[in-house]
């Protein structure tokens, strides 16, 4: 009996219960160094794996804009912007993100901003460090291929 009481006293006490602590899929995009952010123009379940692959190669994860969350493709925990999370990654790649000020406010602290967009006049393109103007469906696979080769060559180098 005494042993049970002693055991009980050793168990941790719950002092607070925070619901939704692992809301969505438990990923905290504010702590990631590289973000590939999916915009409405790339809001396609079919192509999401490709973008996730890109993010993985960069050592980062996927984020998205408000519209993508509202369409149901990704959970709210992935939202970058005024009503979502504020992120400060070292590398931000916006894929088909227009970059209205409501989104910009969530990522303007990023070190390097790369925009992939067909619209040259998109606000994100205007403020990006580098912009790739074209269809992401053509650009992203080439990026992935290029990164994979770099990684392979780096691993292979025995200098």
């Amino acid at each position: 009996m005494k042993a049970w009481r002693e055991l009980y006293a050793l168990l941790p006490r719950v002092i607070d219960f925070i619901p939704r602590a692992t809301e969505g899929d438990g990923v905290d995009i504010t702590r990631v160094l590289a973000l590939v952010v999916v915009g409405k123009g790339a809001c396609d379940a079919k192509n999401l794996p490709m973008l996730e692959e890109l993010a993985k190669l960069l050592g980062g994860t996927i984020g998205c804009s408000r519209r993508v969350v509202e369409s149901g493709l990704l959970p709210y925990t992935r939202q970058v912007g005024q009503t979502g999370r504020t992120v400060v990654p070292k590398l931000y790649i916006g894929v088909a993100v227009s970059g209205a000020v409501q989104h910009l406010v969530g990522m303007q602290g990023a070190d390097k901003i790369i925009a992939i967009n067909t619209d040259r006049q998109a606000p994100l393109v205007q403020i990006a460090d580098y912009a790739l103007i074209g269809d992401y469906l053509e650009i992203v696979p080439r990026l992935i291929k290029g990164l994979e080769e770099r990684i392979k060559n780096f691993k292979g180098s025995k200098k």
């Binding site: 709210y76 005024q82 009503t83 504020t86 000020v101 910009l104 406010v105 303007q108």
Partner: protein, 659 residues
């Protein structure tokens, strides 16, 4: 007869005493509220008190045609007030007081009027019952016990009236019989009754009338029908100015801010909760209620009343309140999510027949949450920080404020040399889409030869969202910084293209020591056109044009016609109106700080308004506000209509018409 008078006297005194005590119990709770001066400008107030109730202007509107039934019932009630007063006094002093003691002319006239009015009242009650059963309005509990009790009591009163007089007429003791058509008709149904029977029936109906009347009186304080006592005083103490501002806080150590307990409301707020007739018009026009949010203005007022009735007696005797005003999911407690859903559009205040001020109470409660408990939706944390540190909601470097003017020539505002300060505003400076409006307005001002200049990167946010979200502390800081800047630079006249900046600079800044003449760009453009300073051709190829009223322009500041007139000059014809326009224009959803908040429940308000606009099949939607612009652009994109419908600010349309 003597024992009858004694009995009635006892009943009467008891009923009046009980009524007085019930009223005292209820109304002393209103006195718990904070002080507020609602007795200035007495002449205007007396006029309000006579005009609105007696013409029933507030209840009769096109949108709510059934209000006419209430008007009828009200007018009957006023007339019957005299009849019932006579009835009661006659019961106490039958030898001295009776309308039958008046000369024939007066007596017959009164008898006739009372007779007709009673049947009209009865019919109105019947209509009300049918309406509640067969076509109940949404948004209220139409088939409530309270409603049917009241309607039954009124009906009972009328029926007893006829029973009484019919008995006298059938008995031949009513000399005004010829002037009482309805009672005479009913008397026909008593034809078979003996004379003694008629005496009894007259007595019975008399007592029924007396009991129902006194019961009704005593039921009043416990029902929403108490509004017959509070409605007319409500007209007296109503706000004589538009409700477009809130009161300042006094930031002294030890003060309590906002309203976290019911007794922190002013007495007028608490009286409002009693005055509510539960008509549901506020809920009918509320954009949050319409889109399925938990906010329902009628229930907010109802909860305040319930909370006061529960906590009031405790607080009055210095005991602890038991029901929290904010937080609970029970009647009498307003949940936090309800408080944050409000867009402060003011539609609720606009349609209320008894001049209740709904949304200022919500802002008061927001102040408690923000200033006393730092409890607010998480996405506002970034917003508040940005405002504090960068004086703009997006936290963008202030140096970027002049980016919109990169390709044109803008002058800084110079004291003595420049007439108008063009207050660009945060949206107009930082938001890509709204920058185009700023540029358009700049072009118009130049074309008209207006002397204008800007503050450039020194400009700060006007602080509108801060105040509506309840963060009065940061708001006051920003206001004082702005006023210091305006004074130092000699700014008196300000042009703004944002209704929120306009309203805040005009109405809120008025509470601080500064004289500012603020004009909205729609007013200015309309004036310039009228003065012939703008040469306009007709702007072609904009197609069917639909106009959207901004809440902070229309309802809050009464600017409805200026933009429409300007549009007519620019496109040659009046724009198409949406179903809800002018005073009941539907909010775009961004006001009240909601621009910075996430849509958590229900439909997005901007989607609802866009759908309404699309019903008119427009090719162009004309807006006059950067918030509305953002909401419509976003909404149209999400409706996949952005390829066939464009949104333009009035300034952009006028620019297209410039020769």
């Amino acid at each position: 007869m003597l024992p009858s008078i004694m009995l009635f006297a006892v009943v009467f005194v008891a009923a009046i005493a009980l009524f007085g005590w019930s009223c005292f119990k209820r109304f002393r709770l209103v006195a718990l509220g904070r002080a507020e001066n609602r007795c200035d400008n007495v002449g205007k107030r007396i006029w309000s008190m006579l005009l609105y109730p007696f013409t029933q202007l507030c209840t009769i509107t096109w949108r709510y045609p059934f209000g006419f039934n209430h008007a009828v019932l009200f007018w009957c009630f006023i007339v019957l007030l005299i009849a019932n007063a006579e009835f009661l006094l006659n019961g106490l002093f039958p030898a001295y007081i009776s309308i039958s003691y008046l000369p024939d002319g007066a007596y017959f006239t009164l008898a006739f009027i009372f007779d007709i009015v009673s049947i009209i009242a009865l019919l109105a009650v019947l209509l009300a019952v049918i309406r509640r059963l067969a076509f109940p309005p949404a948004n209220i509990v139409a088939r409530s016990r309270d409603a049917f009790v009241i309607l039954s009591l009124i009906a009972g009163l009328m029926i007893a009236f006829f029973g009484m007089h019919a008995s006298h007429i059938a008995h031949g003791t009513e000399r005004a019989a010829a002037y009482m058509p309805v009672s005479s008709l009913v008397a026909g149904w008593f034809s078979g009754v003996s004379a003694e029977g008629l005496v009894v029936s007259a007595g019975v109906f008399w007592w029924i009338h007396a009991i129902v009347l006194l019961s009704f009186l005593n039921y009043l304080p416990y029902s929403k029908h108490i509004h017959i006592l509070t409605a007319i005083p409500s007209c007296f103490v109503r706000s004589l100015e538009k409700i477009n501002s809130q009161t300042r806080e006094e930031f002294k150590k030890g003060n309590v801010f906002g309203v976290g307990q019911v007794e922190r409301f002013t007495w007028k707020d608490l009286l409002d909760s009693y005055s509510c007739t539960e008509c549901g018009r506020c809920s009918d026009v509320c954009p949050a209620t319409f889109t399925g949010k938990p906010l329902n203005p009628r229930l907010v007022i109802h909860d305040i009343k319930a909370n006061l009735l529960k906590n009031g007696p405790l607080v009055a005797s210095n005991r602890e309140a038991v029901l929290p005003l904010i937080g609970g999911d029970v009647e009498g407690s307003i949940s936090e999510e309800v408080i944050w859903e409000c867009t402060t559009c003011g539609a609720c205040v606009e349609v209320c027949p008894v001049f209740i001020e709904h949304f200022p109470k919500i802002i008061d409660m927001r102040r408690d949450l923000v200033e006393m408990h730092a409890r607010f939706p998480e996405e506002l944390l970034g917003f508040f920080e940005n405002m504090e540190q960068r004086s703009n909601p997006w936290g963008i470097a202030p140096a970027e404020r002049t980016k919109w003017a990169a390709e044109i020539d803008v002058k800084p505002f110079e004291a003595g040399k420049t007439e108008y300060l063009f207050f660009v505003g945060c949206a107009g400076a930082f938001d890509a889409r709204n920058r185009r409006t700023t540029l358009a307005l700049a072009k118009i001002l130049d074309a008209a030869g207006v002397s204008w200049g800007i503050l450039g990167k020194d400009e700060l946010c006007c602080g509108d969202s801060l105040r509506r979200l309840g963060n009065e502390f940061v708001f006051e800081r920003i206001v004082k910084e702005n006023i210091k800047m305006f004074t130092e630079r000699g700014v008196n006249k300000i042009i703004s293209h944002c209704p929120h900046c306009y309203s805040t600079l005009k109405n809120d800044y008025d509470q601080y020591d500064v004289e500012l003449e603020v004009i909205h760009h729609t007013e200015l453009i309309n004036n310039l056109i009228g003065e012939g300073k703008l040469n306009l051709d007709r702007a072609e190829d904009l197609g069917k044009m639909v106009f959207h009223d901004s809440c902070y322009l229309g309802r809050h500041n009464d600017i409805y016609e200026a933009p429409r007139k300007a549009l007519v000059s620019a496109i040659g014809h009046a724009p198409t109106e949406m179903k809800r326009h002018h005073k009941i224009g539907f909010c775009c959803g961004a006001g009240g700080g909601r621009m910075w908040m996430k849509n958590r429940v229900g439909k997005r308000i901007d989607m609802a308004r866009v759908e309404e606009a699309l019903k008119e099949d427009p090719e162009t939607i004309c807006v006059c506000c950067p918030y509305c612009m953002t909401m419509f652009v976003d909404g149209l994109k999400d409706e996949n209509a952005d390829d066939r419908v464009q949104v333009l600010d009035l300034a952009e349309i006028v620019v297209r018409a410039l020769k």
